[in-house]
Amino acid sequence: MSQKRIINIFRYDPTTEEKGHYDRFEVAIADESKTTLLDVLFQIQKTEDSTIAFRYACRVSMCGSCGMVINGHEGLACKTIIGDIKAKEITLRPMNHFPIVKDLVVDMDPFFDKFKQALPYFDNPHTAGAPAIIRPDSKEREDIGLSTECIACGCCVSSCTMMYHHPEYLGPAALNRAFTLLADSRDGLYDQRLIRVMSSCYNCRLEFNCTDVCPKEISPTRAIKYIQRCALKEPFRKIDPRQPAVEVHPVIEEQAAGNPEFSRRRFLKRVTYGLGAATALALGGVLASATIGPSIRRTPKQWLRLGGLEAFAPGQVKTISVHYDVMDGFYKSQKIKPVMVYRGLDSNDLVVYNSRCTHLGCTVHWDDTKHIFLCACHGGAFDLNGDVKAGPPPRPLDKHNFKVADGNLYVEMS
């Protein structure tokens, strides 16, 4: 039973077009479970439009020629079975981040230029003869795993958004290749290769797009993470004395002149410094106001009634605990402070002492037998005028402001 599928194919004719457009084809497919996308492309080319351009070679997902964006997801046309595509319409589009030659054919030169920058070949100039053998069950071999299976189709590079944002970024494929060789103890170009991939490996933002699209199910993200860890260990690595260090300048620096990426980097650097300064200022302001604030803040004063005047006998000292509330920010705290009222023999002679010892702030009490204010902590003593009689206090007792209104005594507390 043949089914109809709609195939939208991106068309770009270099002789007539600027941007490109989509062409819509309706194709009858005999058996969707046995038809690949590449078969459909052949069918369209034979029956519908012979000018359609696409690239292929092996047809068995070995060569990596037919990479394209299939319904927004990179893949190989030869590996994609039509029956596996759920959407009714299939949209084919050339890969991202490559110049388009015609229709679905892209120029892979930028890809291989970057591949070459990562020194994608095995070389050991320091050993002669047969290379050492690595056992299949060694950690090294297991680390490398199937990452050597890369067919350089470019799907990962197309899926990686960082390729667009960082033009000098080598990309997942080149870094995966570099990883397979960096992890290989037989290889002799570790230093040179690491220098070349070092600045690149930090452009990965861990989006896992490359891992998601890879037709060979390799994880270039894993490779990039491995290189990052190599870079991290580099300062602590023991240099093999048999392999003298070779001066290799990173390709990035040679390209730096006139690259807009670097003015962008300068701009981002300034923005970072600016944001850092603003953050420091904001945090510093908050910390400073929290540190200095309490000492300069004026606490509201309140008048509190101590009682009727008749409660204070002449010639006597009376200690009264004053209860009142103080607002500290949003928090209401209740304070209890004893004050000492002395009424002289002349009935108008009133003093309200702060019970806080002027030495270290202990509470002073009135000793009725000795007729003295005593501090229990360090033996400070004050007389009825508040003057220091003995002990370490540096100054007389503090006095509270008070007023007499309607026969009642009020004290000012803060």
Partner: protein
């Protein structure tokens, strides 16, 4: 090569350009990255609000929620960066750590209010 053949190449397509299907097919790994960036900006905004309008439960709620979310995804990056967790579990890490973040968020929030 452009110079040799005389063919005018079209400039490279970028992600999503002329591609309506792209965002629908964006995988969870990339969403994690995008949302962590967005939450980073949100943290700056909410932190500013938190410092200027102190002790507003709404702002505290939003700030704690974004910080927890951002931290959960950040933890995933750290675990993957240092190979503490194999990269093949990256999708499970997103679900697991964000779920852990939600649990911690609920515990902290119910303790405060």
């Amino acid at each position: 090569m452009e110079q040799e053949t005389g063919i005018k190449y079209r400039e490279p397509l970028t992600k999503g350009e002329l591609d309506v299907q792209r965002w629908r097919n964006t995988q969870v790994g990339m969403w994690a990255w995008i949302w962590q960036r967005i939450s980073a900006v949100a943290i700056i905004v909410f932190l500013g609000l938190h410092l200027t309008l102190t002790y507003k439960p709404v702002i505290q709620f939003l700030l704690l929620a974004t910080v927890t979310f951002h931290a959960a995804l950040g933890l995933r990056i750290i675990l993957l960066d240092f190979n503490i967790v194999n990269v093949k579990y990256q999708k499970a890490l997103i679900a697991g750590l964000v779920a852990l973040g939600i649990v911690i968020f609920i515990i902290i929030w119910t303790r405060i209010y």
